[in-house]
């Protein structure tokens, strides 16, 4: 295992656990018609194949020799977590703050995280993109975007 990216083993192991769990769950399916071609037959077949292929992959990875130049660069967990966190916050806050406020702040944060330090761009891009997307969905496609709650709803309604 020396020199190997242990992360390579994580996906097949998770898939095996996930497949075993789902396989067990297929026994809870309720049906009365077509007992031999019921709703469980296909998922079970696919899950068995998924377990088998994952096992073969683990076996193959265990015996594979990794060349030094082929080794992957390390994951920058901090950056990754920041990225996922601001997306999480954006989706979570949209229900309460509404589309406009949450998108303005999210775009600004995302640009900063992606390394943009130009002040002019940091002001103009969030404003432009937020309002262009708003116009496209709200007036172009008549799809109402989240308005938020309480005072934030009043703010959103100001733009309708």
């Amino acid at each position: 295992m020396k020199g190997k990216d242990k992360g390579e083993f994580v996906i097949p192991i998770i898939l095996i656990a996930f497949s075993v769990f789902l396989y067990a769950n297929t026994y809870t399916f309720k049906f009365e018609t077509y007992p031999k071609a019921g709703p469980q037959i296909w998922p079970r077949s696919v899950l068995v194949l998924l377990i088998l292929t994952s096992l073969i992959l683990i076996f193959k990875l265990s015996f594979e020799i990794v060349e030094e130049e082929k080794q992957k660069p390390k994951t920058m967990w901090g950056m990754m977590l920041k990225g996922i966190s601001i997306l999480f916050l954006y989706i979570f806050s949209m229900e309460y703050l509404g589309y406009i406020l949450s998108t303005l702040s999210f775009t600004l944060l995302a640009m900063l995280m992606l390394g943009n330090k130009k002040k002019f761009q940091l002001i103009i891009v969030p404003l432009m993109s937020t309002f262009l997307v708003f116009l496209l969905f709200n007036y172009g496609m008549f799809i109402p975007l989240p308005k938020g709650v309480w005072i934030f709803r009043t703010f959103s309604l100001f733009f309708q």
């Binding site: 992360g7 996906i11 097949p12 898939l15 789902l22 297929t26 399916f29 309720k30 049906f31 009365e32 018609t33 077509y34 031999k36 071609a37 019921g38 709703p39 296909w42 998922p43 696919v46 899950l47 998924l50 292929t53 073969i56 992959l57 193959k60 992957k72 994951t75 920058m76 990754m80 920041k82 990225g83 996922i84 997306l87 999480f88 954006y90 989706i91 949209m94 229900e95 589309y99 998108t103 999210f106 775009t107 995302a110 640009m111 992606l114 390394g115 943009n116 761009q121 891009v125 993109s129 937020t130 997307v133 496209l136 969905f137 172009g140 496609m141 008549f142 799809i143 975007l145 989240p146």
Partner: protein, 500 residues
């Protein structure tokens, strides 16, 4: 012919015409930016097409698909960086031409070959699809199962590791089983979560896995993604003499591209390599290939775009996508309640023929957009990824919300963004996941119907005149990756030998 004229009459209406132009422009732009390709472009645009009528929506998506195929050639010629995998072979002669100061000519030839190749592919699509659909109308569950299985064999031809591709495809097949069972209405893997009773929102998964996964990868590597060139780039279309010099190469590549496009799983990348290799094989001066000749650019670009029309044939006639992008396009059809398959040619005649005509117009639109917009596309390449990435993230989140005005779909998108990121990182290709998701329902339903119809004697399916040979072909298709590996390495070896 009458139907084609009705379709043409619809497609030339200003509304549909504008869709072809907008789609072609966006497609070329998506193709030109490395890291964003036609698949991501189509996925991002599906939510926007919700409010359009089905004809306009599908012309727009089709134009993005066809535009994406040529857009990839721009960075391939200018920077030796293919904007899309199918433009990889364009670097062989496109980049040496740019180094000689003839980038404008290379781009002009790429546009011309792509446009004419695309037109050829669309004409074949218009001619063969109705005939194939007529035959397909007589198919029963056994035949559908065989074709769906053949469609699933695309999975093994995508990605570096066959095993990882299969795992990705199986994961897609399992995701397709979530929700109420079509035959018995039994609840499967819903765990009481109401928004997934009807299954996962297809578009949220695609947007998350493809677009969010890609942006997370860029965040992680802090890659700026900006490219610059000092050369003044414009488009110089080939002269009549230059076209006549390449006429047989072009014609050969049109035919190769269309046939390869129709075959499930083979795709535009192989078509362009195949087109290039055959051009070298039939050339009187094979040593010139790889040194920067227009014929080299024409060979791969013509095949690449002819494959677009070809890939749409199995999608429209059988409901089986011929490529990864057409698999994503299924989402665009389904949100409008249109189910691809032979019945489409009976029940939605106007839609089908307007789409054919729209795709033909999209080729012309692509040429015009490419010629006028080349300077804009080069400028887009200079954009900082910090701007592009932030805008893509907003479009992803809002796009997945807009599908059903549902907050749950945004969380699904985020979850699949993280899954997509890890799959990318550990080289599990994403297209097999989409193909599994798209074909899952068809393959399962037809499999179970086959079991019932054949009185649970499954293997008698091999004795039927259509399903038997198709299943054997599907088994043979599993060996395609080994053939491709041999073929591509042969082309690359030949090319490196001919380069000075």
């Amino acid at each position: 012919m009458d139907l084609f004229l009705i379709g043409l009459k619809t497609a030339v209406e200003p509304y549909y015409l504008s869709m072809a132009f907008i789609g072609a422009f966006l497609g070329v732009a998506f193709g030109a930016i490395p890291g964003i390709n036609a698949i991501i472009g189509v996925a991002l645009l599906i939510p926007i097409t919700v409010s359009l009528d089905p004809i306009a929506a599908f012309i727009l998506l089709g134009a993005v698909y066809t535009g994406g195929a040529v857009g990839g050639a721009f960075p391939a010629i200018l920077f030796k960086i293919p904007g899309a995998p199918e433009a990889a072979a364009t670097t062989f002669d496109g980049y040496p031409l740019a180094k000689k100061g003839q980038a404008s000519k290379a781009i002009g030839m790429a546009l011309f070959a792509s446009t004419t190749g695309g037109m050829f592919g669309v004409l074949c699509l218009s001619f063969f699809s109705p005939q194939l659909a007529k035959i397909a109308l007589s198919f029963s569950a056994q035949e559908y199962f065989a074709f769906a299985l053949l469609g699933l064999t695309i999975i093994v031809s995508i990605g570096q590791s066959v095993l990882k591709s299969i795992i990705s495809g199986l994961f897609g097949l399992i995701l397709a089983t979530v929700g109420l069972d079509k035959l018995t209405t039994a609840e499967r893997f819903t765990f009481g979560i109401k928004p997934i009773f009807g299954g996962f929102e297809f578009v949220s998964i695609i947007i998350g896995a493809f677009a969010i996964g890609e942006v997370l990868e860029r965040i992680q590597t802090k890659e700026s993604g900006a490219f610059t060139t000092k050369e003044k780039v414009s488009t110089k279309l080939p002269s009549l003499t230059e076209i006549l010099e390449c006429k047989w190469t072009l014609l050969r590549s049109y035919i190769i591209g269309t046939i390869i496009g129709i075959l499930p799983g083979v795709g535009a990348t192989t078509a362009s390599f195949f087109g290039y290799n055959e051009a070298v094989r039939f050339s009187k001066h094979p040593e010139k290939f790889g040194t920067g000749i227009l014929e080299g650019v024409a060979a791969c670009e013509a095949a690449d775009n002819a494959a677009v029309g070809g890939a749409l044939v199995p999608l429209l006639t059988l409901g089986i996508p011929g490529s990864a992008t057409t698999a994503v396009m299924v989402g665009g059809l389904l949100i409008h309640g249109i189910i691809p398959g032979p019945l489409l040619f009976v029940e939605q005649t106007k839609f089908v023929y307007s789409f054919f005509s729209g795709m033909f117009i999209a080729q012309i639109a692509m040429l015009i957009c490419g010629m006028i917009g080349v300077k804009i596309f080069v400028k887009i390449l200079n954009w900082q990824y910090s701007i592009l990435g932030a805008v893509i993230l907003v479009l992803c989140v809002i796009g997945s919300y807009a599908m059903r005005n549902n907050y749950f779909d945004m969380w699904v998108m985020l979850a699949f963004g993280v899954i997509g990121y890890y799959m990318n990182r550990y080289e599990y290709p994403l297209p097999p996941l989409v193909i599994g998701l798209v074909l899952g329902d068809l393959v399962e339903t037809s499999f179970r119907r086959t079991l019932i119809l054949q009185d649970y004697q499954f293997f008698t399916i091999f004795t039927r005149p259509v399903s038997g040979p198709i299943l054997i072909f599907a088994i043979l298709a599993l060996f395609y990756p080994a053939f491709r590996k041999y073929y591509v390495s042969k082309v690359v070896r030949k090319k490196s030998q001919s380069s000075p």
